[in-house]
Symmetry: D2
Subunit: 292 residues, 4 copies
């Protein structure tokens, strides 16, 4: 898989051949993005493609939206979807609708197109039928301008998810951690045990990537917990030994601790970025956030 | 299994026969607690037993502490522990120490007893060797008064864990939930899906107790998620469909959401109490706490 | 000041005469909203007016946007603004720009109008020059549809702030509080002292509205801290006696506590709504949020 | 004012003359601490003095406790307190008790001494009468060992507060900040305005120490917000321009924002330490903690 630098330094034809389908049936997006290159990173490439759409005329944007199939619509029935759309819709369970569900989706698509003039678009890769229907209901009352903006945002999200399966990211991303003890106002360390696992989406099983112990600043010795090529998009989980930590420091905790092993599941979307995923914890509360 | 009311309304002999071992080899605790009865709840009974110890003389408290075996000590080797202590130490992995570990525990116990005049006591049911050693190191520099207080606190915790396996709690405890959307300043509902599971400690597997959906106030319809006899001490886990919720409301989230299914694992220590275990979440952060 | 019910139950002429300026120079919004009445609340009235705009044609929406003056623009110089706009711009400090600032605002407005075809609109009542310029820079690269949606959102916000100075809200709003002790996993009470104050915007001084003490559930006895006609939009502040609370419970805190009196300042935007503004605190951390 | 290094490198007599009153009427604590010197920092000196008490015999510890006057007791009435105790009790408002309050304090002290054999000790410098009485009620039911440990902890706190008015700290402490935007999962910057002020305790007024603006990582350029000799123990307050920040980024916020200027008041207890005091905020929630 080429990286952004290689792709964007080569010929325009190869660039467009590779990336022409990132925006549904709209190779002009890749063509215009190429003019802005070359690009040093997957993120820069994605931004340039997005900008090409943002700066297109509204007529061109509408053509792009209209290139998208109905969700679970006639094109799907007829087997006429692009391979990207087919896989995305299948993953959302749209390949196996009951006749009643199919009819509901059809009515929904028609109502939306009638009101706004373009199809209902949602990045469905990780969505369920319930999410698709619920989002539809919250979006239908919007003004056309709001919905046009939202449709374009969904299209960019779809493009991003396609792009990162085609272009190798730079190995600049990494994962760090920090644990604070909010009951005592100090780093949770040394000695809290932490495990890092990754979800294998094809099998639904978790594999262990590392075992760590906090140092006296509540951080992990030895640098990032994950970096380079091992740092890929996907679903990860820390497990923090919060109960054992507080027990070993003599802080009063219950017989069955309210917090013992604390799982913290998070997704990596951008493999070129830094993800700081800390834990703030007392024996009775915790919080986390994407930090920096 | 009798409840507190039944036990404490009956004869003193039966009461002491049943509860005499809750405080290690110290039936006098049960005898004195009985005088304060009868008790309406497991909690009231536990409090009375604790109070009997607190109000005993320091000499009596020392006798109580001295009744406890060394952790992994000679009594264990000789098979002379009470059955309660044997099981508790075994669960902590103290039944299978290497000779080196055994020697380290022995040295540790000796150092502690020499300094303070009573054995090193730790409620070990859910502790690991690492926790036991680490707690030992943080406690050894304490003053004698601090350590005497800590040892009594550990003894009360051990007693509580024994007590709730002997006495049936009142079915007054229950579990509630509430989900707030901190990105938009409103209840996270209607429509966020929540699952509740319980850990079977003997098999290590999780069984599903219920599937819920938040209402427009971010709460669960139909009252507590768990109550009555089903509400037992142990380890539980909520799973919140945070990613699907934000996707369905149209809030911008990443292609691979930072937060998708959010697991929240917690322990129930007191089956007669109300546990409110809420979630405050944005697409990029969340927190929880034991509420009321 | 009439309430929504009185206004919307009366004649259309009076309704439009009163509310015709809520959307800048666009009495048609009030006219169409009237058809949907009568309304039981300020919130219902505001929603109906917003809906009238959302369901208007894009051409009508553009006319509405074009009715707005440039921020700090020629109309302001010529004294031709509506009285509402004059006051709003003055409050943001736009009445006293230096020649350099005036030129910068003019260039900004021109660039925006040239790109999007309508003026740059921002609800400026509480904005500073820096905010106005900074928002301009973040919005200029947007697509036209995104910016059209954003401009309408700003117009709705301006309308809401005008509306609530014209129409009396129902006295349904109220303010509640709850304090949790996250270091010990229990309500922070009884006994934490709390003060509630309100900012007088004309003088910049704070007046005390009430003194409270938490009960054993960490809540205030006697119902809401504020309700009815006293519950108006504006700026409020709780002060929580966190340091004294932890000192009185014997929890270890520093000589100079990290948290002593904790101020928590918040705004009430909707006087018909319930605002639950809780505090979760340990001696070393706290958090708050708009709850429900 | 000498620093720890100077004091502890000099003669024992001068050391004890200076620090003999840090532990009430117990110069032996300074004498024994001196043997462990010299000390590089105020913190090391405080630790050594504390350790001298911890390692003293229980008889010596009791003599130390008995050297403390009753809170608001006979010694105070007779003007026989040490100057340190007089000032500390006066600051807590114990110099102006009504006869009823005086009687209540007297009864309280007697009950405590009768039960435990030593006076009720509380670090009162920042305590109110209510805190003193409330802490008394929560402590009276304790076991003697718990209360002995607590009394020693209070004595160490009193000593620490005395010590830092006698010994100059090293200029190693500093204050840092970080602001995260939890609604968008990114640093809150560039451009959030932050003010830092310090409370002048003698006048009750606040003086501004600095004005800052976050950079693109949500931190302050130019290093610590405060450091060196300016970093003294006392009460500080950040004010974060949260409302203006979200308005300038185009994030939807209310007409009257729920969070506009967010004050965050905190105490510096140890002038040799690093205080990291961050803000995590969305337009509807925020949290803070002592970080590292």
């Amino acid at each position: 898989m080429p990286n952004a630098k290689e792709l964007s330094s080569g010929a325009a034809e190869a660039f467009v051949a590779t990336l022409g389908g990132v925006y549904e049936k709209s190779p002009w997006v890749a063509e215009r993005a190429y003019e802005r290159g070359p690009f040093d990173s997957l993120a820069a490439l994605a931004t340039a493609m997005k900008q090409a759409v943002t700066e297109a005329t509204e007529a061109e944007q509408l053509v792009l939206l209209l290139a998208h199939p109905d969700l679970a619509g006639k094109a799907a029935l007829a087997g006429e979807l692009t391979s990207e759309s087919t896989e995305e819709q299948a993953r959302a369970g749209l390949g196996s609708l009951t006749p009643e569900e199919m009819e509901r989706f059809t009515r929904m698509n028609e109502a939306y197109k009638t009101k706004f003039g373009f199809p209902y678009i949602l990045a469905v890769r990780n969505a369920s039928k319930a999410v698709i229907l619920s989002a539809f209901e919250s979006r239908l009352p919007n003004s056309r301008s709001a919905e046009l903006a939202e449709a374009l945002a969904q299209v960019h999200k779809i493009a991003w998810m396609r792009l990162r399966t085609i272009v190798t990211p730079n190995p600049t991303g990494f994962l760090t951690c920090h644990v604070l003890d909010t009951a005592r106002g100090m780093p949770a360390g040394p000695g809290m045990r932490i495990q890092l696992r990754r979800l294998d989406e094809s099998t639904g099983t978790w594999s262990t990537l590392g075992q760590f112990v906090t140092n006296s600043d509540g951080r992990l010795d030895g640098g990032p917990a994950l970096k380079g090529e091992a740092f890929t998009f996907g679903t990860y989980e820390w497990t923090f030994g919060v109960g054992a930590y507080f027990a070993s420091t003599g802080f009063p905790i219950a017989g069955t601790p309210f917090l013992d092993d604390v799982p913290l599941r998070f997704g990596i979307d951008d493999p070129e970025a830094h993800y700081h995923v800390p834990l703030l914890c007392s024996p009775w509360s915790y919080s986390t956030y994407r930090g920096s």
